[in-house]
Symmetry: D2
Subunit: 151 residues, 4 copies
Amino acid sequence: MTEFQPQDPTFASRVRASFDKQQFMATIGARLTRIDPGAVDIELASRDDLTQQHGFLHAGVLASAADSACGYAALSLMPAGVAVLSIEFKINMLAPAVGERFRAVGRVVRPGRTITVCSAEVSASREGATVPVAVMQATMMAVRDRKGVSD
Amino acid sequence: MTEFQPQDPTFASRVRASFDKQQFMATIGARLTRIDPGAVDIELASRDDLTQQHGFLHAGVLASAADSACGYAALSLMPAGVAVLSIEFKINMLAPAVGERFRAVGRVVRPGRTITVCSAEVSASREGATVPVAVMQATMMAVRDRKGVSD
Amino acid sequence: MTEFQPQDPTFASRVRASFDKQQFMATIGARLTRIDPGAVDIELASRDDLTQQHGFLHAGVLASAADSACGYAALSLMPAGVAVLSIEFKINMLAPAVGERFRAVGRVVRPGRTITVCSAEVSASREGATVPVAVMQATMMAVRDRKGVSD
Amino acid sequence: MTEFQPQDPTFASRVRASFDKQQFMATIGARLTRIDPGAVDIELASRDDLTQQHGFLHAGVLASAADSACGYAALSLMPAGVAVLSIEFKINMLAPAVGERFRAVGRVVRPGRTITVCSAEVSASREGATVPVAVMQATMMAVRDRKGVSD
């Protein structure tokens, strides 16, 4: 649980419905594994078709999971009918992304009516240990009344 | 062409061979379409399985192509036997990533023995027009003599 | 000159009046040296009291000038009565910030009603040569009708 | 205290001596108020000559204090004779930088032989309350045997 109060009591089902529409998350095998107010986890298993040239998970895959975790952490605090778009994010790689599974933990750092700042940590499960592999700092924007953009 | 002189005359084949080992680039349908010294283009076609919840290309897909374009722009200026890893990148989304095709143009801003700073622009081809959709600023590190990490 | 059309014909005097209220720019000896639509230059002379431990200009001074250049590049395209705040910025140092003078060139990459993305390059004048020392990518927000925040 | 073990038992005096050479910290009235292994605090009082146009502390001042806090957090874990340079940093502003005093808390996220990743939080003391005003994610580089660059 987190310190934040959701404005929409149905936030979890709204986050889940939106995530299920992110076809790219299915493409990389990512699943929502936690939805709390202001905190969302996304997990995926290592797969050869997600790697870069050295056999590590591609930084873009880490960024994709972390960006979605941040976006849904932000969405979990929005009123009904308000969508969230990524304005920008910055990610640092901390260690080679090697392991059996990866988890991106996205958290709201500061919610706002228009701008919500988030952070994410990505860790690998590697032979029973948890190894931090990336950290992200991201800026999300609430979008109201824009055609074709909801939740 | 660019202002930079490659240190390895076989830079283009080295970049291509490394890119071909990035299985994630094949997963998202990305192809190398230019390799100049310090400048690399990567292109991909729009596909439903690369989208986020509003039907736009997922920001993580844009980031993946831009990160690889930056990394290979950096690698094109490295001596033989030196590998490149992404330390970090930051990407701003400029417009909804909608279009038939996308191109990430990665460029070296400043090469260095250890640290190379790069930038990338991602644009969409949309009904005959070219629309900028994202810009990236990235930091790459040259890696020498590390087991399991080459090119 | 740039490709952008200002919405407020008095943009230059508005930018200048706001810059003159940034007391910190006076503290570091920074001056506005160009105001075009979507492009603003800020210059300062090297001074010992702006340095870090190795005698280079402190990265925070480079960031301060670049942030203001980006902010005023964004403001130059805003309608009258709209203020600009920095949401975030990211800066890469390219070379030791050594020289007699420094210039930050801020440019709008993409203007928007709420969000404007900017970039800046900072260069040093060093014994007659111009040396790039930093690049910034920044996100600015237009603020309307907020008490105490104008221009 | 932090989880990190310093490699140089005199780390605190080394950090203090280096900070005292950062003339820009004196210019903005910043003081070192904590030096633990991997964690450094820098504080400064609000002053009119550090403000931007709305009377808030300039984002560049927040960035300067946070960058130095990150750099010294990294330096505290380095062996004797190794210097630290900022490769890049990214800062998000969370709230107007208004208050009587400001504190930047820099922490090492992941130490490394060459690259150390840090984060910082900047908060304002405002009428007895502590208000977070900015967060930074930064990349520091260890520098060995470079002329003119030590500690």
